[in-house]
């Protein structure tokens, strides 16, 4: 795990050094999203409030898509598989991130560790097509497998 982190960092560093114009956007970890997650709701961390509207990167796992032809996917801290009988499609962990893809149509495989870069958007929002409610989104996003 540590090794993988190190490799990832090294890779980003090499990329930035080779092409200064592509300096890596700030990276946000799942653990840095919220100042508080509680029964009465959650509150965003000062860091998230500061980065709102900027292009950032996050690392996580692609969750099983809600439908076959989705133009967004759900990024999770740990790999999840959602049980159709024990959990409804609303039963995601509290700290998910919705990734709205810049190039819709490319269906993302589930369960893989990925790095996503996109515009950070926060606040409750309901997807008009699926009714999916999200708190944190990466818009105009691109992703790559780690």
């Amino acid at each position: 795990m540590q090794r993988r982190c190190f490799l990832g960092t090294a890779f980003v560093f090499a990329l930035a050094a080779a092409n200064p114009a592509l300096a890596a956007p700030p990276r946000l970890a799942f653990s840095e999203l919220y100042a508080r997650i509680g029964v009465m709701g959650t509150s965003f961390s000062p860091q998230v409030l500061k980065l709102k509207g900027q292009r950032i990167t996050m690392r996580g796992y692609i969750a099983p898509p809600l439908k076959a032809e989705a133009n967004f996917f759900v990024l999770t801290r740990v790999p999840v598989s959602v049980c159709p009988f024990c959990n409804s499609d609303a039963d995601w962990p509290a700290d998910i991130v919705v990734v709205n893809l810049k190039n819709p149509g490319t269906l993302a495989p589930g369960g893989r560790p990925v790095e996503v870069t996109g515009m950070l958007d926060i606040g409750s929002s309901t997807d008009r097509e699926t009714g999916f409610v999200s708190l944190v989104r990466l818009n105009q996003a691109e992703w790559r497998e780690l």
Partner: protein
Amino acid sequence: MLVKRCCAILLALWGVQASAQAIYPIDRATMVVDGKFDFKVEFDGVVDPSSVTITVNGQPYEKVLGAKAAFLPNEDNGKASSYILRDISIKHPGKYEVVATAAGKSMKVNWEVYATGPRTAKNVILFIGDGMTVANRTAARVLSQGIKEGKYMGKLSFDDMPRMALIGTSGVESLITDSANSMSAYTTGHKSSNNALGVYASRAKNNLDHPKVETIAELVKRKTGMAVGIVTDAEVEDATPAGMVAHTRRRSDKSEIAEWLFLKGADVVMGGGSAYFLPKSTPGSKRKDDNNLIDLFKSDGFAFATTATELKSAVKPDTRKLLGLFNTGNMDGSLDRFYLKGGTVKQFPDQPDLTEMTRKALEVLSRNKDGFVLLVEAGLIDKASHPLDWERSVYDTIMLSNAVKIAKDFAAKNNDTLVMVTPDHTHGLSLVGTIDDNAKGTEMRDKIGVYEEAGYPNYPAPDKNGYPPSVDVSKRLAMFYGNFPDYYETFHPKLDEPFAPTVKNDKGQYVANEAYKNVPGAVLRVGNLPRSADTGTHTADDGVLTAMGPGSERIHGFMDNTEVFRTMVEALGLGYDGKTKGKTPAKPATRR
């Protein structure tokens, strides 16, 4: 040859009938007198109402059922007609034959409507060990009581209840049930279908349009002054607690279920799932509207708690209504809360135990002089068995035993409380031996002891709560699930986070989660379930129900899950017409 062809024709007819025509309640339905239900007749095509006759025991149905059904010529704009008559009941016990005929084609169902004797129990407490299998009980007994030279050093709290029965759990459409379907049978006395709660799954398109049947909570609220309590360690909107109040084809209607908890008059509601109580504008909400249900409960006089500490002080001597929400989603199980600190324990460090919730629920509900019906669900037994995480499932079985102990002590005071403990369905879990890290062999399977090689495990002695303080021991139980997707078997407890055996691949199939591939000794176990199964699945094996207290005399042998409803209804005398069935009408001991 001829036989074969006849069979084919018969099968074809059967198929058409089963899918296209139906009467609800279904054939062989049993109902308590004056229990509410919706009556629906579905024809397999568009019919002319003048060609339709619907009779009950040979009379026009309106005469027996008391009202005229609405005719839907093209139900849901489809190519078939239906009749629906909502919210009716039958006042006289007996056998009822319902025949519906249109254009010479007819269908028929039989119902049994039963009365009950007088009330014998003041209170009913129903414990559901969700997904609790016999192996859960055995392993929980080994871990919490200990076993020496073949004899256990003690018993689980529900081991020595005087009544026991095997429970059949299958539903209308399938051998294998889910928790919605099976809880619905317990709470309504009617069979239902997977994902459905308090309804028959008809062909209606809208989740909320299906023919409804009354739940035990609605029945006691309508006919008595009893209080109702709903306690779970899953989300309070999850299938089992929802079974007390919900009427929907889809258990995922959690926003509606949260509202029903309030609207159906529950007096005590405790568990996880606060996300469906918060308005959409509050970060963390899973609602799609701006209703604030916590405010709604509070404004109706509910005491409110969000932690174990708050729960202690929230209940005042005069508290009669209590809402406790202790997690946005499912609460954490005892293994994580007390020992491993995985799951969401870091975010929710002060969650109460099922025992504390049971104690508080009893304290509040017992203030009602008319008695109460209390559901307590140990929901995480199932939530852990799905991802094949037997240690977490067994620790929560011990927690259930601790909670039942509190109810038994309560019941012992007056002997006026029926207590039942039962799973809603089972999992394919078995205890096959032990795993000894110090045994010879290079592969983990060589370290599995069976028969005399198994001996006994070396878990530390249980602490004061009945749990061994460590599951990570050198000689532990070997427990395996018989029905599973592809996964890496590590032969070890999952100490960081609950097990996540599979992930979905780009073909939409569930494959083994590679995160466990490099655990020393891990082997790929190629699944025996379809690749659409993300976790272990429920099984049709009977569940074991144990019971004590007035009304539990009915419990014996093999029983259908719908008879659990009947047992509660009989104990509470909810179908008692004042006439006796032979005996002197003892004044219900409970109506003091």
